[in-house]
């Protein structure tokens, strides 16, 4: 239903949102783009000359960049592996007949609602600390030397922390998808003589494949921007061992005050995210009926 009147009203009603988001997109992003072509350092005020792609050259050839890129991929990949496999497992487990399913759900979902700084610090101090953390106590109990997680395996430790936070999200989504599976299909498979593993591979998994893809895409978008957990645990260190692209740009921009270089890095991050976003938008578009 659309009449001339309602069409005009609709246009007015939607404009604040559109204008604000348009502004939010265009203004800062174009500024970043602009800065990326300048020699701009906050420690040298008044010096803003155009230097073309020099910032990009430096940023992309900096060994720190390659380290950060690798770390970013490891971070995203590691968390994805843990959350997808863990999520599928948990979803299947929670779908089984049991008592107190509601409470188990709450227990499993809880980590997602804990703010990133809290979870990072709790893990860092109360679990991973080589002197007072629970893992250290457990190691001593077993007669092993305590492992200094954040110093010796910083990236791995952060992967663990972030995976703990995102596992509930994956579980919830996959559980929802799993529960939307028509029981009739499973029964038909049973009648056809399929056993548990066959049922899983040929019916359940394909049904969930769409949800799995969505979880991968959405988590990737958010995981590219992991920040707080790195900031409060390792600050990117030791060296660049746990620096991802987001943290690298942050460090260059707000710690070294190199606006030009940081902006170039920011644009690189945007391009990376866009690649993933294109695939995600296609999936959303397929499902959206306007």
């Amino acid at each position: 239903m659309a009449t001339g009147h309602s069409r005009v009203a609709a246009r007015i009603m939607i404009s604040p949102a559109v204008l604000l988001l348009l502004g939010w997109m265009i203004v800062p992003l174009s500024m970043t783009l602009y800065f990326s072509f300048l020699n701009y350092n906050l420690l040298m005020p008044g010096v803003h000359e155009w230097i073309g792609f020099t910032n990009y050259e430096f940023f992309l050839t900096d060994p720190a960049f390659f380290a950060a890129l690798g770390n970013t991929l490891l971070l995203v990949g590691g968390v994805l592996v843990i959350t997808i496999f863990g999520g599928i497992g948990l979803a299947i487990l929670l779908d089984q007949p049991m008592w107190g399913q509601g409470i188990v759900r709450i227990l499993v979902i809880a980590p997602f609602f804990v703010m990133p700084t809290v979870s990072a610090l709790v893990w860092k101090n109360m679990f991973m600390n080589p002197v007072n953390g629970l893992f250290a106590h457990a190691a001593k109990f077993l007669g092993l030397a305590p492992f200094d997680f954040l110093a010796q395996a910083p990236l791995f430790s952060i992967i663990l922390i972030v995976a703990w936070q995102w596992l509930p999200f994956a579980t919830l989504i996959l559980l929802t998808a799993l529960q939307s599976l028509d029981r009739d299909q499973i029964e038909a498979a049973n009648m056809d003589g399929a056993r548990k593993w066959s049922r899983f591979f040929y019916i359940v998994l394909p049904h969930m494949s769409r949800a799995i893809t969505v979880v991968i895409l959405i988590q990737t978008i958010f995981l590219l921007s992991i920040f707080a957990e790195i900031l409060v645990t390792t600050n990117g260190g030791p060296g660049n061992a746990s620096t991802n692209i987001t943290f690298l740009v942050y460090a260059q921009s707000l710690l070294q005050f190199d606006v030009g270089s940081g902006s170039a890095g920011g644009i690189v991050a945007v391009i990376l995210a866009n690649i993933v976003a294109v695939f995600l938008m296609r999936m959303i578009g397929k499902n959206l009926e306007a």
Binding site: M1, A2, T3, H5
Partner: protein
């Protein structure tokens, strides 16, 4: 009060013209039914009269005033939707009172009118319930109550009985017709059910692909359909169409004769055929007869007729009950 005139009205959705130029006059106090198959544009036409859809071109007048640009709230019409469209968060009383509240009447006046409508529609016992707690028929009545209470110039009904079960439908049909007699307000009623059209209308408008095929009283459409489409649409079961030798004999491309006008005989008749399935309704029996070179013919007989599946039978009809159609579908007079 309550005359509606459509002049040269057209409607396009994107670039598809769903209603080519159309003229129609609805007189004060008439019960007019728009009928036609799905997608023929009858609901669209109704919604254009209501103001819920814009006209692509042309004009609509209500009581002589051009309302083409007037929003629905100000046309003085009331509409009953197929899904009733009751406000789920309001009680029945508040639902019926809503239009009066929008019109700014004071509470005492509103109460008076709401009680009046409730009485007419037997809703007194349900006034404080929510729509979710009512049955289909009760909801229908609340929707009608909400329409009545505004004393509109005309009522618009958009397939109001489609969601009800068969028995309820028959009852509501009678109630709506009664309402029309009581209020004498113009009613424009859309349905795809030709039985509703035939039983309720003063005037029927048969629509097909956005075009008006014929306008007339139920009996006019039954006796003198203007073309093959109307002839086949009005009347249940459908009119039988023959396009073989019998048609050519009478100088027509196709001839049509209604099942109730065909007589069966075991000895002789115009056409010879073989009996197929028989449908026994008790009061009538419908036989489906296979005739060489034609589609299956339906024949109605009263009561019982002793004939079995596979028997040979002869069909006849009176000449003045046989309709002749030209190749383009028009009736040949």
């Amino acid at each position: 009060m309550g005359s509606i005139n459509l002049h040269n009205v057209t409607k396009k959705f994107d670039d598809v013209e769903v209603i080519p130029p159309l003229d129609l006059d609805i007189n004060e106090g008439e019960f007019v039914v728009f009928v036609g198959p799905s997608g023929c544009g009858k609901s669209t036409l109704l919604r254009m009269i209501a103001g819920l859809e814009d006209l692509t071109s042309g004009s609509i007048e209500i009581d002589g005033q051009d309302v083409s640009a007037v929003p629905p709230a100000r046309r003085g019409l009331a509409m009953v939707f197929q899904s009733y469209a009751l406000y789920p968060h309001m009680s029945v009383r508040k639902n019926i009172a809503f239009p009066l509240k929008m019109a700014g009447l004071d509470q005492a006046e509103i109460d008076r009118k709401v009680d009046g409508a409730a009485k007419v529609l037997n809703l007194d016992a349900y006034m404080d319930r929510r729509p979710g707690q009512l049955s289909g028929g009760q909801r229908q009545r609340v929707a009608i109550g909400r329409a009545i209470v505004r004393a509109p110039k005309a009522f618009l009904f958009d397939e109001p009985l489609s969601n009800l079960d068969a028995a309820l439908r028959v009852n509501m049909r009678l109630e709506i017709s009664e309402l029309h007699h009581t209020l004498s307000t113009t009613m424009v009623y859309v349905t795809h059910d030709q039985v509703e059209a035939m039983t309720m209308a003063d005037k029927i408008v048969v629509l097909h692909a956005g075009r008006i095929e014929q306008v007339g009283s139920p009996l006019e459409l039954y006796r003198n359909p203007a073309n093959k489409f109307v002839a086949g649409f009005i009347g249940s079961p459908k009119m039988n169409f023959l396009s073989g030798a019998e048609a050519k004999k009478r100088g027509a491309h196709t001839i049509g004769v209604r099942p109730e006008h065909v007589t069966l005989s075991r000895e002789s008749g115009m056409l010879k055929g073989k009996v197929g399935v028989a449908e026994h309704l008790g009061s009538d029996t419908f036989f489906h007869v296979a005739v060489d070179g034609e589609d299956l013919l339906t024949v109605r007989t009263e009561g019982e007729f002793d004939i079995k599946h596979g028997d040979t039978v002869y069909l006849s009809a009176e000449e003045d009950r046989i309709h002749r159609f030209a190749e383009d579908g028009r009736t040949i007079q």
